[in-house]
């Protein structure tokens, strides 16, 4: 167990190191003077000199890299060219909005996927199964931004039930907040629901054919109790791992969803940063996103090893 955790943590540390190299190299590939890139086109000579000194741009590249990583470790990702706020502060103000959106989307996805997946597995090769698989395939194939546009057209423009866009902080007006979160969360959750449904179905089919399920059935336990109490608990373990791996897709989805529904979160931030050539902001957001993906999956694996006795004892997944 300890061996597994240490090895897993080491791999994550190496991955994080390589991520910083990739991001650093990426920014250096932007044509032009690096000081100009980080300070913006309208920076004066003093501003350029300040950036040059801060990142040691006259030093050899490896020294520059280490200096940059040291700053990033302290939470200093530079400052936005456009607003002059620090990148860390900008991200910190936007992140809660995206986290709320992502959490609601995950809840929507789980609420749709788990019952559908269980039903498809229990009623395998029946009409239920076929319909669930078809809906899941459509969910994977539908471009989420088009789904968002169609939802706005139907729900907001035609029916007038929900506001088409915008954001109200949860603490300011919870009802208005939820009204504006329903459609983005539904759009963001659709693809996730489709993937999770397939996983739930496959995992449940495997679990339901296990010996201990037959034992539980032969004990005379009712079908529903077997499914919920015995099968679902084990069937959900791989689903949690998939959820961790889907975090990247969720972040990509947030970029699109927030653009359509004008949600002022993390995803909209990066799109705006690209258009305004706000390189430090793009760099910071990309670095933070990739790092958090690695950390989330480390957490998922660690909690997985606590949940699953086979890993806890043997030390290997």
């Amino acid at each position: 167990m300890i061996e597994f955790l240490v090895r897993r943590a080491c791999i994550s540390a190496i991955t994080l190191g390589l991520i910083t190299v990739i991001v650093f190299a990426g920014v250096r590939m932007i044509p032009g003077d690096p000081a100009r890139v980080m300070a913006g086109t309208d920076a004066d000579a003093a501003g350029l000199e300040e950036i040059r000194a801060k990142y040691g741009l006259d030093d050899p590249i490896p020294v520059q890299y280490l200096r940059w990583v040291a700053l990033a470790l302290r939470g200093d990702f530079g400052e936005s060219i456009r607003t002059r706020h620090s990148v860390a502060w900008t991200v910190a103000t936007k992140l809660p909005i995206t986290i709320e959106l992502a959490c609601v989307a995950i809840l929507v996805a789980l609420a749709l996927a788990i019952p559908a997946g269980v039903l498809a597995a229990v009623r395998r090769n029946t009409a239920w199964d076929v319909v669930a698989s078809a809906v899941s395939l459509c969910g994977v194939s539908i471009p989420n931004f088009w789904l968002g546009i169609m939802l706005i057209l139907l729900v907001s423009v035609r029916l007038g039930w929900l506001p088409a866009s915008g954001f109200v902080p949860l603490l300011e007006d919870p009802v208005a907040n939820v009204k504006r979160m329903i459609m983005p969360a539904l759009v963001l959750g659709t693809a996730l629901a489709a993937v999770l449904m397939r996983q739930t179905r496959n995992a449940m089919i495997e679990v339901l054919s296990a010996d201990y399920i037959r034992t539980a059935r032969s004990k005379g336990l009712a079908g529903f109790a077997v499914v919920v109490r015995h099968a679902l608990r084990n069937g959900l373990i791989p689903v949690v791992t998939i959820l961790g791996l889907q975090m990247g897709a969720l972040m990509s989805g947030a970029v699109v969803t927030e653009s359509i529904f004008v949600v002022p979160g993390f995803g909209r931030l990066i799109v705006e940063a690209v258009f305004t050539r706000d390189y430090p902001l793009v760099q910071g957001v990309v670095l933070i996103t990739a790092s958090s993906y690695v950390l989330i999956n480390l957490l998922v694996d660690v909690s997985y090893s606590f949940l699953n006795p086979r890993i806890r004892i043997r030390g290997r997944p």
Binding site: I11, I14, T15, L16, L18, I19, I22, V23, G26, V27, M29, I30, L137, C138, V140, S141, I142, P143, F145, W146, I149, M150, I152, L153, V157, M247, G248, A249, L250, M251, S252, G253, V255, V256, S259, I260, I270, V271, V274, F275, R277, Y279, V282, V285, V286, T289, A290, S291, Y293, V294
Partner: protein, 302 residues
Amino acid sequence: MSLDASRGAPVAAALVLPPAAAAPAGGLRRGWRRMLRRPASVAGVVVVLVFIALAVGAPWIALTDPLRTDWSQIRKAPTLAHPFGTDDLGRDNFSRVVWGSRISMQAGVFSILLAMAIGVPVGLAAGYHRGALDQLVMRLTDAWLAFPFLILAIGLVTIMGPSLTNATLAIGLGAAPTYIRLTRGLTLSTKEEDYVQAARALGAGDLRLMRRHVLPNIFSALLVQATVSIPTAIIGEAILSFLGLGVQPPTPSWGTMLNAAQQFLESAPWMAYWPGLAIFSLALSFNLAGDGMRDLLDPKDY
């Protein structure tokens, strides 16, 4: 190279193990029958072929110039002359959807070809040689996969500038680690097979073993993966163009069309129907075709 290799494979296998050579042909026929029993997959293949025909035959199918603006025809509802209506500059939406299939097909196919061109050789080398090279490649793919697809694409487009070529490059680079991992995994199991060991015993070198024995046998799995990743790439291009990071106006692309449509949902909803429906049906068809291909090419019975 891969086509050449797959042609050579059964012959080489027949020299070593006669029964192994007979299996693929019979399996293929069985696979066909299995696929024909799945009408959804057949429909998927047909729709993909229709879209390919649209993309190739765009100049003969869409007779109206997709770029011609007409100020007297702005945001007109569908009519016989303009079956999909007109857009905010009076351009014919039908023409633009048909021409848009070219962009989508190009982006989808070329980005996945790029991903395979990078991923297959690297994955083969890593899986075949193991050791330090394998470790390095695996850690690099871990790091590369940590960037969410769209974030990576946005980062690359920021560096390189927005255009169809750069969007295709970005999508291809984003998909490459998937192929590295898949190829590596398949190579690891394939190189332990008896026929590879037998060929090695007969004195075949590393390169020949990889090209003639490993690659042809993992090719079908790679082809299935390509079929299911093309729709992702197509949606990826549409998203980048929708965000303004891919194809630039006035070039007709489904993503840019939807971007324009978003501003006129109340007055011209038809602008939003067709490009989106095109992406959806093409992606769905590729996925259905991919499911069918898996049955067709996989020797295991599902």
